[in-house]
Symmetry: C2
Subunit: 167 residues, 2 copies
Amino acid sequence: MAKESKKLDDLFHDTLKDIYFAEKKILTALPKMAKAAHSEELRAAFEKHHGETEGQVERLEKVFDMIGKKAQGKTCDAIIGLVEEGQQVMKEYKGSPALDAGLLAGAQAVEHYEISRYGTLKTWADELGLGEAVGLLDATLEEEKKTDATLTKIAESVVNQEAEQAS
Amino acid sequence: MAKESKKLDDLFHDTLKDIYFAEKKILTALPKMAKAAHSEELRAAFEKHHGETEGQVERLEKVFDMIGKKAQGKTCDAIIGLVEEGQQVMKEYKGSPALDAGLLAGAQAVEHYEISRYGTLKTWADELGLGEAVGLLDATLEEEKKTDATLTKIAESVVNQEAEQAS
């Protein structure tokens, strides 16, 4: 059993480092996105999520602690690409009424990345018998799903408002 | 109205090119993932999804046609990063019983990227009055969600099987 569960342990630890890097990257991206947003509702959502993300980082640090490892990130190419795409949209659509729609799309892509990672980590934590970690990972997973649902709602109202303003 | 909806038009077109590039990239990655998979169930799921992805590419080509544009991709940094991460796992966990768990995690991250993109494109197509495109994008969105649910099921059974084999 030792060898086999050691391998899943490694994968769990690697993926923990991946999402830890990602959360830190998101913490630096969110204030820029909030500043760029035209809609007050969207700006507020980004600011709220910034606070949540700080709590999510703390939860990850607790999970690192539970497996006796130091909390540290590992370069995550996916989140770098996602944030890069978001910055490109901010640049290309600066001053455009479609900017908020673009910001929302980028933010939702990031949320979905996190949803997949936390879902995976939760499954593995359960298999590894890390009951307390399952609870922490699930708490973040539920927050990410809720944020994604909020963003979907804002996305629908934002594109409608843009069309109305323009008519 | 023209100026405003033109802007959302641009964003729709840009994002369509982004996901078209992504789908093509996924088409080349899936056979490698199927070949690497230990579990027959997982291999079959990747092969099935390869066939579905071909259909999804065709749907995107129809949507390009509906907006009078040539079907073409635009470098998508996010999918490059996601596929890169998957390849790294394949390399690092080659021969390990945890390889399938790693492949599944990578595939689910890709599915979630697609779920976010198709969800966004569907909302915009609706706002742009592209009713037929909404139907096509929704068909793919539902397929991606179904694939993600299948992968979650396999992920749970795969980690259990690994633990059993090792006990």
